[in-house]
């Protein structure tokens, strides 16, 4: 994360487009998600539609935490 004021970020802002994070920041975000939510982010899940905004992150984290369908 690059020291931006969190108050300027809205739910749908793209982290990359807004310059909030860079490619190393994405790596930090993934490690944070794995540690904080006890999930494992697979290579194919490292896409903007899962990780590039708060609005994208919330359903992604929920889907990872949900018990696998039987």
């Amino acid at each position: 994360m690059m020291g931006q004021e969190s108050s300027t970020l809205s739910r749908d802002d793209s982290f990359l487009d807004a310059g909030i994070i860079d490619s190393t920041g994405v790596l930090e975000l993934i490690v944070f998600l794995e540690d904080a939510f006890g999930i494992q982010v697979e290579d194919e899940e490292m896409v903007p539609s899962n990780l590039d905004s708060i609005a994208n992150l919330i359903p992604f984290i929920r889907s990872k935490q949900a018990p696998a369908a039987v």
């Binding site: 490619s23 190393t24 994405v26 790596l27 993934i30 290579d43 490292m46």
Partner: protein, 322 residues
């Protein structure tokens, strides 16, 4: 606007050589009042072309080709570097930088950073950093480390941020040590230092700040790699150097530039950069390159994103009062 094709990058080599050699003379002699130029020669086409251009601009006796291999350099690096210098009648000096790198802890620090992710990594192992392809899907380009054990077992692991940054920081000792040695010889001879990036590398930030990014004059930073190859042919760079695929020669496993940094092989990357800068729509670029428009859009995004990251690399030190 003319249609996009490899012809878009065609240059008049006679005119280009005249323009660049005049620029080198003006920069080195008139602007900086230096007697000649040091060029770090890697055996690749960019540094070979720079050596040839400097020799034409200033005279071969005012160019020093510096060979700075280290313990993990490719087996052909030194021979091809000597070949490049000899083809232009330029004197070469060998400086094996391995002892400096060992003393600075380059290899030790890098291996410690790797062991945070691959605990068994140790003596006899080799490694490189790789990125997923840009054109295949929307995945972020997250670096992975590929390590090979002495018995040939290959391990690929995504590195945690601290480990990744540690590997890059330690590896950057190589480029920064080379530059330190280049400036030693430049100071000793009252020469300037020539940097050898091509346009792709310069534009996209494929260099180490204070390392290969540091120089007094960068004679081919405006040329696409395709154009550098055209000049190499015109300037008589040996075929063996011209036909060698571009490599980083930084990691101990062989590593192509397009698996580490660029999204496509250089000829396609050149055309994408040209197309983006000349506002060609993705559909037209896709047709010219035989790729899909969505793939070109991904490459365009990757180029813009690297440009953004390169701003820091290009930035001069900030002063409170300009």
């Amino acid at each position: 606007m003319p249609g996009l094709s490899p012809e878009s990058l065609k240059i008049d080599c006679v005119e280009a050589t005249g323009r660049i050699t005049a620029f080198i003379r003006a920069a080195v002699i008139e602007r900086f009042h230096k007697r000649g130029v040091v060029v770090g020669v890697s055996g690749g086409v960019d540094s070979s072309v720079c050596t040839a251009l400097c020799a034409r601009a200033l005279g071969a006796d005012r160019v020093l080709a510096l060979f700075t291999p280290e313990g993990e350099s490719g087996s052909e690096t030194l021979r091809l570097s000597r070949l490049a210098a000899a083809s232009q009648d330029v004197e070469g000096v060998l400086e094996d930088i391995t002892p400096i790198l060992e003393a600075a802890g380059c290899y030790r620090r890098r291996d410690e950073a790797i062991r945070a992710a691959i605990p068994e990594y140790g003596a006899g192992w080799r490694c490189k950093i790789v990125l997923p392809s840009v054109i295949d899907d929307d995945r972020y380009r997250i670096f992975s480390l590929v390590a090979m054990s002495p018995d040939g077992r290959s391990v690929k692991k995504r590195l945690p941020p601290d480990s990744y940054l540690g590997v890059v920081a330690a590896s950057n000792f190589k480029q920064r040590t080379r530059k330190m040695v280049e400036y030693y010889h430049a100071d000793r001879l009252n020469y300037a230092v020539a940097g050898t990036p091509n346009r792709l590398e310069y534009d996209q930030g494929f260099f180490v700040k204070g390392g290969d990014g540091l120089a007094d004059v960068k004679p081919i930073a405006h040329l696409y790699k395709t154009q550098v190859y055209a000049l190499a042919d015109y300037l008589g760079i040996p075929d063996e150097i011209r036909s060698r695929p571009p490599t980083t020669d930084t990691y101990s496993l062989p590593q192509g530039q397009d698996e580490f940094f660029f999204s496509l092989p250089y000829d396609k990357m050149d055309l994408c950069l040209y197309a983006l800068d000349h506002q060609y729509p993705a559909e037209e670029t896709a047709t010219a390159l035989g790729l899909g428009p969505e793939q070109i859009e991904r490459v365009y995004r990757d180029i813009r994103s690297k440009r953004k990251a390169a701003r820091y690399l290009h930035a001069a030190p900030l002063l409170l009062e300009e």
